[in-house]
């Protein structure tokens, strides 16, 4: 009888102990999603590595302090949406069906647009049956997407501000440059929108004469016709609004045809390792505004940590890294509980917390948040030099 009582007491103690430990440390799962296959797979791979690296840093520092005082250990899971709208929606529905409180992604603007449309437009609108799940975008950079839904937040740079400053800077430092010609990856939402709505407009406003544009598609591999058009235009500046893969194709063809403009300008997304791996020689001198370069101790440390997770930090994966720390702060300030029975309330807390932010800490400086849930990130002008990105000018100074 006595031994039975002792056994019961021991069992109860073990059960209580494990429950107490569980209450003390919970798992906070943060999902990432984006393209991990297809032409833009490197973006998803880098974002995943950046998120995992950041989660590791957060956990090493003690994890997230939850609303009831318990510690939350961050776990990251990353799902591939293949840069496909239907799959992106399906992935987020899958994530939202779990106890996840937020998701970071997607890679492609053509996934972000439908996905944000599926979310509830105005938070708390009972007449709108859209999905009520916060999304914090790291990569999809096409302008103005977060205004589609109050559940959508982005930590992506404002290309309008970047190219505006770039052309203004060129006007003062390179007054001999008078004309510009564009090269556009026409079938990709981001590159197309950036040329027509940003680069072309800002170049004109900056006093440059826009001599036209040449077009190609993301899957194109032959650019001889387009480069002949570029050559015929004879512009001082050639601005290539395309992702690394076709940017390299065009640059190689320009080299073959002996096209040497006075200045090459690239798309923000091409300020990555992929461009240098693909065509460092041909890209030599290309100027690109970017929201990431290892110019601060924090950025240098982050880049080395992400490299250990087999990723490379650039303006996109840098945002994924930042998002994890921003989310940690939001979870703590909004006293998120991280319990299965508080999922809906916690998601709303995350949304409100993200909406409240005025500024966030970025890897190269303070990031301002705008009322329409976008970011105003600090940026630099970098140029390709000896197979590396070197800082050309820092407009923040």
């Amino acid at each position: 009888m006595k031994s039975t009582a002792l056994l019961l007491a021991a069992t109860a103690l073990v059960a209580f102990g494990s429950a107490a430990a569980e209450a003390q440390e919970r798992v906070v799962k943060i999902y990432g999603f984006g393209a991990k296959s297809g032409v833009v797979r490197s973006f998803g791979i880098n974002s995943e590595a950046a998120m995992k690296a950041a989660a590791d840093e957060i956990n090493k520092a003690g994890g997230i302090k939850l609303g009831d005082g318990a510690k939350g250990k961050v776990e990251v899971e990353f799902l591939d949406d293949r840069c496909n709208a239907e799959e992106g929606i399906s992935v987020v529905r899958r994530i939202a069906s779990t106890e996840a409180l937020v998701a970071v992604g997607p890679t492609c603007s053509n996934v972000a647009e439908p996905l944000f449309g599926v979310l509830q437009k105005k938070a708390g609108d009972a007449g709108d049956t859209g999905l009520q799940f916060p999304i914090f975008t790291d990569v999809a950079v096409k302008g103005g997407l977060a205004k589609i839904s109050e559940w959508a937040f982005r930590n992506v740079p404002s290309e309008a501000a970047m190219y505006d400053k770039l052309f203004a800077w060129l006007k003062t430092t390179r007054p001999e440059l008078k004309t510009i010609y564009g090269g556009v990856e026409e079938d990709f939402a981001h590159s197309r929108a950036t040329w027509y709505s940003v680069m072309k407009e800002k170049a004109g406003a900056g006093g440059l004469q826009v001599k036209g544009e040449s077009k190609w598609l993301l899957a194109d591999t032959n650019f001889s016709t387009q480069v002949r058009e570029i050559k015929a235009a004879g512009a001082d500046i050639v601005a290539i609004s395309a992702h690394p893969f076709t940017t390299c194709g065009v640059l190689k063809e320009m080299r073959r045809q002996g096209v040497k403009p006075k200045l090459l300008i690239g798309l923000t997304s091409s300020s990555s390792l992929e461009t240098l791996q693909g065509c460092a020689k041909e890209a030599e001198g290309i100027v690109i505004p970017t929201s990431f370069a290892p110019v601060t101790p924090e950025a240098e440390t982050a880049a080395s940590i992400v490299a250990k997770f087999n990723g490379s930090l650039d303006l996109h994966s840098g945002a994924a890294y930042e998002n994890m720390f921003i989310l940690k702060d939001v979870f703590e300030s909004m006293k998120v509980m991280g319990k299965p029975d508080t999922v809906a309330a916690d998601r709303d807390k995350v949304r409100q917390g993200l909406a409240k932010l005025q500024t966030t800490k970025g890897l190269i400086g303070t990031v301002k948040r705008t009322p329409d849930r976008e970011a105003e990130k600090p940026f630099l002008f970098v140029y390709a030099k000896d197979a590396k990105w070197a800082v050309l000018h820092n407009p923040m100074n």
């Binding site: 296959s37 799959e87 399906s90 899958r94 053509n110 509830q120 049956t129 079938d187 197309r192």
Partner: protein, 297 residues
């Protein structure tokens, strides 16, 4: 559950697309134009609900009719070619439609924002379902009600004289013509009916994704459309459903946890399935067996 309802929506829309190709395949025509017809349906339905403020049901009907009309127009010249030439001709048509929408701008001001198709940037804010209080479950029910109606119509047609005529043309055009079957009428009708179903699928697709762009309706979708009935088997309409569940449910969604390996397995499993079931997942033998089983029960 929302995830499963969402998945059922995707399967439903792709089933409609597969059935549109099934209809055309019955007459022995291999068409890669179904994605083009779906694009027409998607843009027409979205423009009617977003720009004209029309109710979804008439918008879908008009979208189907618009796609059918264009399919009918495609059907006539397509009569002159067959086999591989028809594949190329319909593929070219599909690309022409895609490129049309790639360059198609028609935006109007609605409140503070401009809405409508904007060329390569697509057509956003097609939010009929959430704005009218439709839950994911209700949208799924609507889609499957339409799928059920289309399947019932095709199933009935398959058992009628019309079905026999379609299959006769598909089996041997010369023999069918020699017994007085009007090839032109049969082939064009099949193309138009297939176009109508593809238009419906496009119209629904536009509304559950809320955003459409030319790239959604490219060669990949056209290939999927034709792959569903071929992989599922042409013996019965149910083969197409099985193939869509296999591809969309098992290969794409079910294997998502496999990460990068999923894409490798995707192709390998389709090749394996076609080798193991050369006459389709639901081949005539399996169908006969099922009929016997149902008969006994």
């Amino acid at each position: 559950m929302d995830f499963y309802y969402g998945l059922a929506q995707i399967i439903g829309v792709h089933t409609l697309l597969g059935l549109s190709a099934y209809m055309v395949l019955l007459t022995g025509q291999v068409s890669l134009a179904q994605a083009g017809f779906a694009a027409v349906g998607a843009y027409v339905a979205a423009m009617l609900t977003v720009l004209a403020g029309m109710h979804l049901f008439p918008a879908l009907l008009i979208a189907g009719i618009a796609a059918a009309t264009i399919a009918c127009a495609v059907g006539f010249p397509a009569l002159r070619v067959r086999g591989l030439m028809l594949v190329i001709a319909t593929l070219a048509f599909g690309e022409a439609v895609r490129l049309f929408f790639f360059n198609f701008d028609y935006q109007i001001a609605k409140g503070e924002v401009r809405v409508g198709p904007l060329g390569g940037e697509g057509f956003r804010q097609i939010r009929y379902f959430p704005e009218n209080g439709w839950t994911t479950f209700e949208v799924m029910l609507l889609i499957w009600a339409i799928v059920a109606m289309v399947m019932a119509a095709l199933w009935w047609m398959d058992r009628s004289r019309t079905g026999a005529v379609l299959r006769a043309v598909g089996e041997d055009e010369l023999a069918a013509q020699s017994v007085g079957i009007n090839l032109t009428a049969v082939k064009v009708s099949a193309m138009a009916a297939g176009g109508f179903i593809a238009g419906l699928s496009g119209g629904i697709y536009a509304h559950y994704t809320t955003h459409i762009e030319h790239a959604n309706f490219g060669v990949v979708l056209a290939t999927f459309a034709i792959a569903y009935p071929i992989l599922g088997g042409l013996s019965s309409v149910f083969g197409t459903v099985i193939a869509v569940v296999f591809i969309q449910g098992v290969l794409i969604e079910g294997l998502r946890f496999m990460g990068d390996w999923r894409n490798l397995l995707f192709g390998a499993l389709i090749v394996l399935a076609m080798n193991l079931r050369p006459h389709g997942l639901l081949d005539p033998r399996s169908l006969a067996m099922l009929r016997r089983l149902v008969g006994r029960a």
